[in-house]
Amino acid sequence: MKIMWTYIVAGLTIFGLMLLVGIGLRASQAGWLPIDPGTFYSLLSLHGVGMITAMAIAGLGLLWYLVDRDIQLDARLAMLAFVFFALGVLAVIVSVIFGHYGALWTMLYPLPFVGTTWPSWATGLWLIGVALVMLGFMLICAQLLGAILRQYGGLGSALGIDYVFHRKRFEAAGKHPPSPQILAATVVSIDGLIGGASGLLVGIAMIAHWLDPHVVIDPLWAKNLTYQFGHTFANLTMYMAVAGIYVALPICTKRAYHSSVPLVVACWGTLVFVIIAYFHHLYMDFVQWPAVQYIGEISSYLAAVPVVVVTVFGGLMLIHRSGMKWTLGSTFFFAGMVGWIVGGSAAILDATIPFNVDLHNTLWVPAHFHTYLLEGVLLFILGWVFVSLEQRADSSSNAFVRWIVGLGIFGGGALFLIPFYIAGAAGVPRRYATEPAPGPFWAGVATLGALLVLVGVLAALVEGIRLARAPAVRAAE
């Protein structure tokens, strides 16, 4: 429990700070807040890497706890990984606030080194900070995977291969397939180690170039590795948080969420295709081998669609006629599934090559990942937090609080996200401090939406503190 709350509280704290930065950035694009372009790109760098890291830290805390319920894990290693995360975040903040690093989270070679307006040490500190975060992430992934391998006696059993191909014999032997949350942890840990290896390699190459400019780097190679890591890391935050659905919805509905053959096979799809879906970020890199463009498109569908369909269908079947009480916790989970579908659909639309020709690097891209993170990953994490607190206090929020939080986070969220989609469809480019029309108008609307999100988040924070301070009636799940 201590590890879970340490990670979740740290992740949500970073999220809150990055939310404020994000509101400032949108207000600046609307022309409401004067921020010079250099500072804008520094803050955009911080916002991008900070939000993903925040969701990953909170998601890992949740996933670690869910695995620890089934297989005892050593909390000291999780705390050591947390130290890596904390040092990494600190290094990144210093590089941006004091060094004004501004080559964005993608740090695409050679941008952090050529024609920069910030000192060299800021680039180095940024790279070291990101590498520390990756190390923390890989430590947790290795711990989860190792524990699962120990428990199940090998990868085949952990992935439910016997269960799928020899089901009668498997069930006759009295065996049970891995639980859905263990499947999610297996996918996250394996893909996390592969993505982390890519990230560390390109990170070391960049650090080597920073220390010794004679070390050249192939830019296309660096871009492939950066996106292989970055896309995988960002995508996996969802699967960390989704594990919460498999445990929390049964608590809310008093029904069990079982592993099934479709769920196991869908997880295999995610395991294989998440790590190669990143090619959809390189559609405009025409020197790439053309086949990988098609691999990127097909993988984007196969990584997401099966597991979303099976999980959401299973979740809805659990809720249907269950008499579930619509508390903040259960509402967050339900709304999170909606956000997952909307953000995921927008993502695979953008990953479809004929659409990508028009949408590539427009505001459509941040539209989909803001939907995915704000109205998907974040809601699953908040859902888990509130289900835990409601269980512990045997209490739930009143209708007024639910409406304030709902209007803020869901209503304000929609008002914040829709302008991204409209401006993206109109061809407004992403990552511009000064946007062409109609960008500034929609940035203004989005700023109002983001302020409403802030109100909802603050209301949820106050309510969360109230529930946490209430006397414990029973141990939380």
Partner: protein, 148 residues
């Protein structure tokens, strides 16, 4: 011959291969070929690490802190493959051989540590490490017509 002994044979053969710089003293290999040869040495060290430390899957694993060397050793191995140092090593076979032994030792440490935590994990950590070493050949210290 049991797995442990096979592991010792593999490490002995890999160590012999690490002495190649004394045989072919002035070979001027392109950096990408250097990386691939180093990947092969690391594969030898990694496989030996797994075989030497392997235990039955049914036994419980060791301390979680075995994961620290398992995670850090591949990172150090990539640093040991610093491309601009290859020119120096081609002229100094003793240094070159020491570099090879360092890579083998780091690969051995990574997989053996992972295997000590959980049976089977060494293959995954080793696979990720070899992926890094092979992938390095495409762009770490090398460009293929995509500028610098």
């Amino acid at each position: 011959m049991n797995r442990r002994n096979i592991g010792f044979v593999v490490i002995a053969l890999t160590a012999l291969a690490a002495l190649v710089p004394f045989v072919d003293r002035h070979a001027e290999l392109p950096i990408w070929q250097h990386h691939l040869l180093h990947a092969a040495l690391m594969a030898g060290g990694g496989i030996a690490g797994i075989l030497v430390s392997a235990r039955p899957r049914s036994t419980s694993g060791g301390s979680a802190f075995w994961l620290l060397p398992a995670t850090i050793a591949p990172l150090l191995a990539m640093l040991a493959m610093w491309p601009s140092a290859y020119g120096y090593f081609e002229m100094h076979p003793i240094g070159h051989a020491i570099e090879h032994f360092t890579l083998i030792a780091l690969a051995f440490t990574a997989t053996a540590s992972a295997e000590c935590y959980a049976a089977g994990l060494g293959w995954i950590v080793g696979g990720a490490m070899i992926f890094m070493a092979v992938a390095a050949a495409r762009g770490f210290g090398v460009t293929f017509g995509n500028g610098s």
